[in-house]
Symmetry: C2
Subunit: 247 residues, 2 copies
């Protein structure tokens, strides 16, 4: 159905990765599974995979046109895209423009504080350890990434933030925070991987003032607010409306 | 009984602080309370306050003779010492020479790994937030300490580590890790405060090989190993034996 003929090489909480005939390329399939709090909360939401796939593809294309290298190659179906095969770096890079979520549980920073410059937090990607936050000293100790590549990752993440903040602003959306993952392609280039969707971006509707109504991201699932598909669909609608205006 | 005539100005998990007639000095009283896991586990252990007070005083004197400024002024009774009044900095500075405890729960570093250079972790001192670990970026954001003082704190903490590692080695003890707290005295000097005792140092007996037998610190309480007072008493005995040899 989905043109998948390769072998499953990885299954995560929200995606599956398959081999293709080309050893340098993989297929990325989006699932409908919704998980939160390190998968302690789990559900299936029909249509979520499609929305996250189409939103991610639109954002990867946007980044590529701005000179940021990503793993995206070609959309294959509404839940499937072809991507460069990468060696993933076990880092979750989180950029925060407004304080909320774990930052406010772990520091006395008040919910809603504007963060200027944006705060960059690095987490070790490891479900068993609960994706712990990493200090610079602990990154050095773990020794899985050298200083120069880490600096490059931080530079790219901040560039991606500038591009996405501006883009979403024009769609009347506030990019509150988001997570990026990086990998090396077969040529050793550092590239943006994984997905960029309402599953790992906090997006608030700037046309709404109610703190719950404005949430258009996975916090609707985390906080049992309902309307996940409507919210994700609203983001895709605005992205597609913008593409039509641009063409 | 304890010559305390001042007002109680602070009560923590293991100590009480009282005013004195001199506004620049306070009395530090050690309690017998034992707490762990952010006070979720709590008990009283007769004699612990005395041992922690006498051990701390011996170690503060050792640091002072090595040129490290501390808040200690004078022992008043076996559970009470006179100290400089300080403004505490809400930082817990942890130096680790061997990987154990939370480091091994939060990273894939193997228990018992020797850390060279020693790892320095900074935590935000806030019981309600569970003393969260701080990245450099989060320290900047919280803005409670400037860069220069932070550098000085890290430098002093590493010097204290060198002094204590050597000292304990001569007593056949391994200093696995320990926590320091710092404050500013009334003249604005950065000084080592709080206590330095088996409540906040991990100390292993180098004459024992069994991983449980060798523990002479609060891990005996955390892990329900029993023998807390015997362990703390053994440390004080070795410290006092060393003083007698030296005089």
């Amino acid at each position: 159905m989905n043109h998948i003929q390769g072998d499953l090489i990885y299954e995560g909480k929200a995606k599956r990765i398959y081999t293709t005939k080309n050893p340098d390329e993989v297929l990325v399939e989006f699932k409908n599974d919704a998980t939160a709090f390190n998968a302690k909360k789990h559900s299936k939401i029909d249509g979520k995979g499609r929305l996250n796939c189409l939103i991610s593809v639109a954002l990867f294309k946007l980044l590529e046109t701005s000179g940021i290298k990503t793993h995206f190659l070609e959309l294959q179906s509404e839940t499937l895209f072809l991507a460069k095969k990468i060696t993933i770096i076990p880092l979750e890079v989180v950029i925060r423009n407004v304080a909320t979520g774990s930052l406010c549980r772990e520091t006395p920073i008040i919910e809603g504080t504007k963060l200027d410059p944006p705060l960059l937090d690095l987490y070790y990607k490891d479900d068993e350890l609960g994706d712990p936050i990493l200090t610079e000293a602990r990154i050095k100790l773990l020794d899985f990434i050298d200083d120069l590549h880490l600096q490059e990752i931080e530079k790219i993440a901040r560039e991606v933030n500038l591009i996405l903040v501006k883009y979403f602003f024009l769609l009347d959306l506030s990019l509150v925070d988001f997570k990026l993952e990086f990998g090396f392609d077969v040529d050793g280039n550092l590239i943006v991987a994984d997905e960029i969707s309402p599953d790992n971006c906090r997006l608030w509707d700037r046309t709404k003032s109610d703190p719950k109504d404005r949430i258009l991201d996975k916090d609707r699932f985390r906080q049992d607010l309902g309307g996940v598909i409507d919210a994700y669909g609203e983001i895709l609608k605005r992205i597609q409306g913008n593409s039509r205006k641009a063409t």
